[in-house]
Structures are given as structure tokens and as C-alpha cells.
């Protein structure tokens, strides 16, 4: 075995990652999931945290509230293999268990450029983080009193304790970023004037205009927008909701509103869905916890009118019919004419989404001209985050922030800072045991009993894995970054590997299909001996148990660690080395 390392930029290898390391591919910032899970298993909590922080910047925050696109793709979640690895909560464990403070990052020497970032939400902070690392002088302008954006004003404390949030924001600010809070761009400071003092401006102002129902009665007392409701709640105010609360919406905000309403004393809280429970994108844990607290669900209904004289008394809904899935993953719905019905309510929280609060330039409104290059109608002004894309998830916002920072830094300095590469290194079989595949998914411990939960806003409902639970959960990861391969030239077709394989992951093939880049897309199986041209490991089925390698009589199976990485600015290299240790 050689210790040779290859860094590839072949499209074929990126395609390989997309299929074979599905979690990392699904993550918008391509967090190296197998690596951090393995590090945590080996009790290297600080490197597990560092591997996370390198890609997603807010491990402690995301470990609680991430939308977890990775888990949907986790191979352990395949039909016959059980449940996906609890990737998100392992991330949280890495943060919770990491007792050594994160190593201070070292920015590149100052390059003399200055950038203003508008908005200290996840996108803005992520962008500021990357820009600062590139040696750029960054000032962040925030209209609220405190930084964090939706993390602070959109997510209740019982899901995200503020100490965690502050710790991770401070880690970023320590890079030398200047934060100015309470500043409304447009009021006291215009975009134009910002441009005078900065080389570029990056708008990451988020989406702070709540969608309206545009129906009668929307101005009645007792009607709240989900956004304002959450800002109120998160700022310590206590909106009066009455006894019967209806929540219209299906996202995390709707859930947070419903659970907050319970904590404000509501007796009966119902979430009204346009589509169905099946179509919810909120995680299953979240749905369960919400139901456990006593929130009810009603589906296939759309609010039409709000009834009442001074305050809300009832809401009229119309039935919907669910249709086909759109390419964006949302289901079509249509109203069913004539199916109106009325539900009584003391308040209605409308959490049906937000749009950006548009900024103005001298010539009018600031418009996004190209989402791929983050440009706007105003030269030198870029946009990112929800402001750019409309409402998204936190992890998507971070991804956008980081990408925008890269575009800006490249334009200002002419240098490329982050390059994606596929790193390949021959390695050895791991100590994973087949029995670990049967470890059940560890459930996130949560406070039992609604009384204890609803007692105080500061009670975090989910209490986090113990070190032992986290290690147990980590065992479950198949470590898909390991690639097993049979050397066709040396194989004697003895099928020993197939005999010991735990599932149909090694195949007798007569043909291998590839895509236009050369990545394997299909193995054409045969059981006709004379047509068995090769015995091939199907890495898309492989669960990395290593049994084949252990038995191969002619030692023709190799293991390569294949990882999608970024060759970042030099300061990152310390982490990269750390990780490989």
C-alpha cells in the first residue's frame, strides 16, 4: 500500500462522489460527514468539530436546527437497511462534547480591500467569515440589536439556546470583523454611500417581509404574521393568542409558532396545511415533538377569509386537492370550488413564507440580476442568502454566503480561494464490525412531559446525546468515503468475496455502464459463467464492511479513501492536516 495521494478535478470523480458519498453530496456546503463521524467515534471531538466548522461554520447551531438534507440521502436509510444515521445530532455532539475551544483561525495578511456586508444572519456571517479569512477588511451592518438574523429572531430558544449561538457568532467576529448593529440601510445609510467607503457591498438582508394572505379580515386583531410573531417571541415579548389558535403554514416557522403559542397559554393549537402531512419538509423528529406537545394537524385546506368584527372569531377555509410533484419537490395543489367551511379561532398565525425587504438604490429598487454570480442591478453591490433566493434553509444560506464571498474575493484580489477537489488516498480496511450495522438509530433524548417543557422558554427540549450515545450512533455510519475495488487483472473469479458479502453488493458482470464523464452508472449482471467478464464491487450498494478484502485469496481488493474537499486559503491547511492526523 502506497501513501500516495491524488487530487483529482475530473468530472468523473465528482460524479462518483455524488452517487457514492450521498450525504456529503447532499450537503449544500459539502460537509465531510464520514470524516467527522469517524473523528467523533475515535473521541477526537475537537477535530470532529473542526471538520464541521471548516465547511458549515456553525456546527453547534446546525447540529440542532439543520434541515438535514444529508440524512434523506444516507445509505443507512435505504429501504432494507433501516434508518439513516443521525448525522445532524452527531454534529451537535461534536459541538457539545468539544471541550477544547476551537483554534483561532488565521486570516491571510490584509490585502487592503474593504467590503460591507448587510445583514448578520447566517448568509451574511458566513460571507464575512470567508472574506475576512481572505485578508479583506469586513464591516457587517445589522438592523436588529444583536447579530444572528433568523437564527436569533426566527428560532425559539427552546430549540436553539442563545449561548450556543453567541459562541459561534463570536468565533466569526474574532476574525477582525467589525459589527454595527441597529443600522437600517436606507434610513441612516444608503447603499451609495456604503459603496463610497467600500470596494464592494454584499446584501444579505434576508427575507423580512411576511407573505400576506391577501384576504378579508387580515387586519383584525388576533391575526399575526408568523415572522413578526416569532420576532416578538424571540425578543421576549408575549403576544396575546387566546385559547384557540390556528396556524397556517407548513414550514419550521409554522411549527415554531404553534409550539410558541402553546407556551403562551393557548389551549388548542392546530396547524392548517395546504398540502398533507406527508408533504411536510420539516423533520420527523420535529413533527413528533410538536404532536407530543399537543399540537393538532389538519390537512388539505386553504384559508380564504378571516371572519370577525374586531377580532378574529373564525376562519373560512376551502378544501384543496393535491396534485403532482413539481420539479422543485413541492406538490401542486388546487382549490376545490364550493368546498368552503369555517373553523372558529381566537387567533390566526399566518406563517406562509416571507419575501425580501427590498432595498432601494438611487435609481429605484435593488434587483438581483444573476443568482449564479450574485450580481445586482447596482454595480459593486452583490446579494446573497435569502435575499437572493427567497426563503431557504440555514445551511443553504450559509452555502450561498460562502459562495458569494468567493466571487467577491476573487474579483477584488484576482485570486481563487476555494477549489473543489477529489482527494484520493489508498488506505486500509477499518475496524468497523458488521454487528454495528444493527445498532438502532439513537433517538435524541428530549424532556418528557409537556409540563416540564412549557415551564420556561429557556428549557431546551432536546437535551443532546451523551458521549456514549454519540459514539454508538457514530458506529452506524458506513463510512461511505471508503471505496472498495477489485483489480480485474488479478481477480480469479472465485467469488469468495460474494460469499461473505452481507448484501448483494458484489456482482458478476458482463458489462459496465458509464456516463459521458466516465463515472460508473450501472453494472450489467449475468449468471452465465462464460459471460462473467469481471467481478465488480458495486460501491453504491457497498456498506463498507471490509469482509471481501479480508478473504480475497489473491489480495486483489484495494481500499481508497475518496473525499470531496476544498483547497481553501492557506489558513485552512492547518485544519486539513489536523484532520488527517
Amino acid at each position: 500500500m502506497s501513501n500516495k495521494i491524488i487530487y483529482s478535478k475530473q468530472q468523473e470523480d465528482f460524479d462518483y462522489i455524488a452517487v457514492n458519498i450521498p450525504c456529503q453530496h447532499a450537503c449544500p456546503v459539502n460537509t465531510n460527514i464520514p470524516a467527522y463521524i469517524r473523528a467523533l467515534f475515535e473521541s477526537h471531538h475537537s477535530s470532529s468539530y473542526a471538520i464541521n466548522a471548516m465547511a458549515n461554520i456553525f456546527p453547534g447551531v446546525l447540529g440542532r436546527i439543520c434541515s438535514r438534507p444529508c440524512e434523506d440521502m444516507c445509505r443507512h436509510g435505504e429501504k432494507e437497511l433501516g434508518n439513516p444515521v443521525n448525522i445532524c445530532h452527531i454534529k451537535r455532539a461534536a459541538a457539545d462534547l468539544n471541550k477544547t475551544p476551537a483554534e483561532p483561525l488565521k486570516p491571510l495578511p490584509p490585502c487592503g480591500k474593504k467590503v460591507a456586508v448587510i445583514g448578520a444572519g447566517p448568509a451574511g456571517l458566513a460571507a464575512a467569515h470567508d472574506l475576512a479569512l481572505a485578508g479583506i477588511d469586513v464591516t457587517v451592518f445589522e438592523s436588529f440589536d444583536k447579530p444572528g438574523g433568523m437564527l436569533r429572531y426566527g428560532i425559539p430558544r427552546f430549540r436553539l439556546p442563545r449561548t450556543i449561538l453567541e459562541k459561534e457568532i463570536n468565533r466569526i467576529l474574532k476574525l477582525g470583523i467589525i459589527l454595527k448593529t441597529g443600522v437600517h440601510i436606507g434610513d441612516t445609510l444608503s447603499l451609495t454611500s456604503l459603496l463610497e467607503n467600500h470596494d464592494c457591498v454584499l446584501v444579505a438582508a434576508g427575507c423580512y417581509t411576511a407573505n400576506q394572505l391577501n384576504t378579508d379580515g387580515e387586519d383584525l386583531k388576533g391575526v399575526f404574521s408568523g415572522l413578526d410573531f416569532m420576532i416578538d417571541v424571540c425578543s421576549g415579548r408575549k403576544p396575546a393568542v387566546g385559547k384557540r389558535v390556528l396556524v397556517a403554514g407548513a414550514g419550521f416557522t409554522a411549527f415554531d409558532c404553534a409550539r410558541s403559542a402553546l407556551r403562551l397559554g393557548a389551549e388548542e393549537v392546530t396547524i392548517c396545511l395546504r398540502r398533507t402531512e406527508e408533504d411536510l419538509t420539516v423533520t420527523a423528529d420535529e413533527i413528533f415533538q410538536t404532536k407530543l406537545e399537543g399540537v393538532k394537524f389538519n390537512a388539505l385546506m386553504l384559508s380564504r377569509r378571516i371572519l370577525g368584527t374586531q377580532k378574529v372569531e373564525a376562519v373560512e377555509f376551502v378544501r384543496t386537492r393535491s396534485g403532482v410533484l413539481r420539479p422543485d419537490g413541492k406538490r401542486e395543489i388546487s382549490e376545490i370550488k364550493g368546498s368552503e367551511f369555517v373553523l372558529p379561532a381566537d387567533s390566526l398565525i399566518v406563517a406562509t413564507g416571507q419575501t425580501p425587504l427590498e432595498l432601494t438604490t438611487g435609481d429605484g429598487k435593488l434587483a438581483v440580476t444573476d443568482t449564479a454570480s450574485f450580481t445586482t442591478s447596482m454595480s459593486g453591490v452583490y446579494a446573497t442568502g435569502d435575499y437572493l433566493s427567497g426563503p431557504s434553509t440555514v445551511i443553504e444560506a450559509i452555502s450561498m454566503g460562502r459562495k458569494a464571498a468567493e466571487v467577491i474575493a476573487r474579483r477584488l484580489t484576482g485570486k481563487k480561494y476555494r477549489k473543489k477537489v477529489v482527494r484520493m488516498q489508498e488506505t486500509q480496511v477499518t475496524d468497523r464490525l458488521r454487528a454495528w450495522d444493527f445498532v438502532p438509530r439513537q433517538a435524541m433524548p428530549a424532556i418528557q412531559g409537556t409540563t416540564a417543557r412549557l415551564k420556561s422558554w429557556a428549557v431546551e427540549v432536546e437535551t443532546g446525546f451523551t458521549a456514549q450515545q454519540a459514539a454508538e450512533e457514530s458506529k452506524r455510519c458506513y463510512l461511505c468515503y471508503l471505496h472498495y475495488e477489485i483489480d480485474i487483472d488479478r481477480c480469479i473469479y472465485c467469488r469468495y468475496c460474494i460469499d461473505v458479502a452481507p448484501r448483494d453488493c458484489i456482482k458478476l458482470v458482463d458489462r459496465i455502464e458509464t456516463n459521458e464523464h466516465g463515472a460508473v452508472t450501472g453494472l450489467h449482471e449475468t449468471s452465465v459463467w462464460k459471460d462473467v467478464n469481471a467481478v465488480v464491487i458495486d460501491n453504491a450498494r457497498c456498506i463498507r464492511c471490509g469482509e471481501c478484502l479480508r478473504v480475497c485469496p489473491v489480495d486483489c481488493i484495494s481500499v481508497t479513501r475518496v473525499e470531496l474537499m476544498e483547497q481553501g486559503p492557506p489558513s485552512d491547511s492547518s485544519i486539513a492536516e489536523h484532520k488527517n492526523a
Binding site: K79, F288, R319, S322, V324, L343
Partner: protein, 338 residues
């Protein structure tokens, strides 16, 4: 040409009726029923009577196993379907066998619903849906003098009737969630309460459950709003939730049940649903409804089969029997009988 293969998932009143109808309409086609039950078609509405001893086991299983074989229907008992792939027209069984179909009827019925906050006490709660469930009841009943019934769905009332016949002391905790996902309104709740009280049942309407604590074998102490009662057995009857978890990755349109139109056709070609697991949008009443009861199930099974075999038959809604609460409707005929 490939022969037609109709698969019916579920062998309850709806599923079995669907299979026999299919065989009748398309005698050349293969018809397979896949059911996770080990026994034949069980009429679960007769189970309370069976517990009371007024109905024989034979009557509970209405159709003999031979009858399926003789009719040319392949009956696979004790086998669960874990996935449906409408693109490839295949179903996947729990033991990893795939079967191709040209037409599919989903008639899996429902399983007892336990509201999430009660899940912590699951082990103390007895339900009654399958024949196997009667085992627990028969084991505990002889020694149980007092029984708490929670919920208030149609089974609960039938069970109460049977238990009263067995001279048991009944506490009835009537809750608004009984008709999940529907809720009683005040008037209805009072009406039911009244009827129960008249029969000698202690009704605990509107009381909130605080906790359940086991005392010795079988018996439990139940805390209700400051009051505590000791019972020997607890039955949970919160209605049925369609047992359609296995369809979650199939792409079929689901809400509580499988969403179908008045012809019982789902959004995917060749897939129908019938019985308790079908959530039907019916233009006549302009709303979604689910049917409850054996008679309805059988009739839906038949309609689904007719339509799958090329017919075009609408489900009929008998307005009189629609039970309308808070805008959601249940088609039922049982209520009058209690």
C-alpha cells in the same frame, strides 16, 4: 402478451371483496391478495361480540381459506408489503420479494390510533382491531372487574356493550379526539355521555389525563385532574389511522389515507384504494370523507375492483348517514345502533 396480475393489499372486508370481484370481472387474470394477517378475512366489528361470547370464532372469519383457492385467488397470509413502486408497477414485500402488478388495490384498513401524548403509557393500553388482539383481552378479562375505556370510537361503544353484558364496571373517558381526526362538538359529546350514563357507565367527560401508574399485575392507577381511579384494565379506542406507512416512499398521494377520487382511483394509473384506508374526495358533498364499517368497506372493495377491471362506477354517498363534525365527514351507519 403478459397476463394481467391484480394485487390486492389487505384481506379485510374491502380487500377480500375486491379480490373476489376482480376474479369475477376478469376471470383470466391472476389475482393475488397479500395480507399481513395470519388468518383469513376477519370481521373486526364482530370482535366485541366474540369477547362477550355471543359470536363464534367461525363467524368472525367469514370466508374459508379454501374458498380463495377454489376461486383461483392466490392468498398470501402473514406477509407485509413494505413498498409500492408505481413506475415499475411492483410491490416489495418485507422479506424482500418483488411482485409485478398490472392493477393494484390498497385495502389495508387501519390500525388503532394512540394519540402521541399517550404513547408513554402504550404498554398499559389494550386495543381491539385484529383477532390476535382478542388474546390479550381474553387473558385479562376474567380477573378484571373494573375497566377504563378511553376514547369513544365505534369499537369502544361496541366493546362497552359487550363488557356491560359481562357485568364489568366501566369507566369511560370520553375525549374529543375519539374520532380522530375529527372532534366531538359539545352537543354530541353530551348526547353520547347521556346514553352511556343511562347504561350504568361512569363517564369522565372533559377530564384531562394526568398519568397512569401500574399497581401489581395488570391493574393501574389512573390520575385524572386531581382524581384517581383504580382499574384492572385500560382499553384505548381513538379510532383507526390508515395503516399506510409503507406507502410513504411510493410517491402516491397520501393524507391520512390514500387520496382517491369518487371512483376510488388514486393519482397513479392502475392503483385504487378501498375501505378504511381510502380518503375519498366526493364532489357530491364537496369534501373528503372516510368510510367506517364493514358494510361500507365491502361496497368500496367492490367498486374499486369494478373500476380497476375497466368499469366506471361511482361511490355512493348516502347523505343521511354522513356524520358531519367540524367540516370533515364520516360515512357511517353504526351510530344509530348503540
Amino acid at each position: 402478451m403478459r397476463e394481467d396480475h391484480f394485487i390486492v393489499i389487505g384481506n379485510g372486508p374491502a380487500g377480500s371483496q375486491a379480490a373476489f370481484t376482480l376474479k369475477e370481472k376478469a376471470p383470466e387474470a391472476r389475482v393475488t391478495i397479500v395480507t399481513k394477517e395470519r388468518e383469513g378475512c376477519c370481521h373486526s366489528h364482530l370482535l366485541p361480540g366474540f369477547l362477550a361470547g355471543s359470536i363464534s370464532e367461525k363467524k368472525v372469519f367469514a370466508i374459508s381459506l379454501d374458498h380463495y383457492t377454489k376461486s383461483g385467488i392466490k392468498l398470501r397470509t402473514g406477509q407485509s408489503v413494505v413498498d409500492v413502486n408505481p413506475q415499475r408497477k411492483e410491490i416489495l414485500l418485507e422479506h424482500k420479494e418483488t411482485i409485478s402488478y398490472s392493477g393494484l388495490i390498497i385495502a389495508v384498513g387501519g390500525r388503532p390510533y394512540i394519540p402521541e401524548p399517550l404513547l408513554a403509557y402504550r404498554e398499559h393500553l389494550c386495543t381491539l382491531k385484529t383477532f390476535q388482539d382478542t388474546g390479550t383481552w381474553r387473558q385479562l378479562l376474567p380477573a378484571a372487574d373494573s375497566i377504563l375505556i378511553m376514547g369513544g370510537d365505534l369499537t369502544s361503544l361496541a366493546v362497552t356493550k359487550s363488557l356491560l353484558a359481562l357485568k364489568k364496571k366501566i369507566y369511560f373517558m370520553l375525549t374529543g379526539e375519539a374520532f380522530w381526526p375529527l372532534r366531538f362538538d359539545k352537543a354530541l359529546q353530551e348526547e353520547v355521555s347521556g346514553k352511556l350514563t343511562k347504561r350504568g357507565v361512569t363517564v369522565l367527560a372533559g377530564n384531562k389525563l394526568v398519568g397512569i401508574e401500574p399497581v401489581r399485575s395488570g391493574s393501574c392507577r389512573v390520575y385524572v385532574d386531581g382524581q384517581k381511579i383504580k382499574v384492572d384494565m385500560i382499553g384505548a379506542f381513538f379510532g383507526l389511522v390508515p395503516d399506510i406507512g409503507f406507502l410513504r416512499r411510493s410517491g402516491l398521494q397520501l393524507d391520512r389515507g390514500v387520496l382517491v377520487d369518487e371512483y376510488l382511483c388514486s393519482s397513479h394509473e392502475g392503483i385504487c384504494a378501498a375501505g378504511d384506508c381510502a380518503q375519498i374526495y366526493h364532489p357530491e358533498i364537496k369534501d373528503y370523507w372516510v368510510s367506517i364499517g364493514t358494510k361500507n368497506a365491502r361496497s368500496l372493495g367492490k367498486i374499486a375492483a369494478v373500476n380497476l377491471a375497466g368499469g366506471r362506477k361511482k361511490t355512493r354517498v348516502d347523505r343521511e348517514r354522513i356524520f358531519d363534525i367540524q367540516g370533515v365527514k364520516v360515512n357511517t351507519s353504526w351510530w344509530m345502533e348503540f
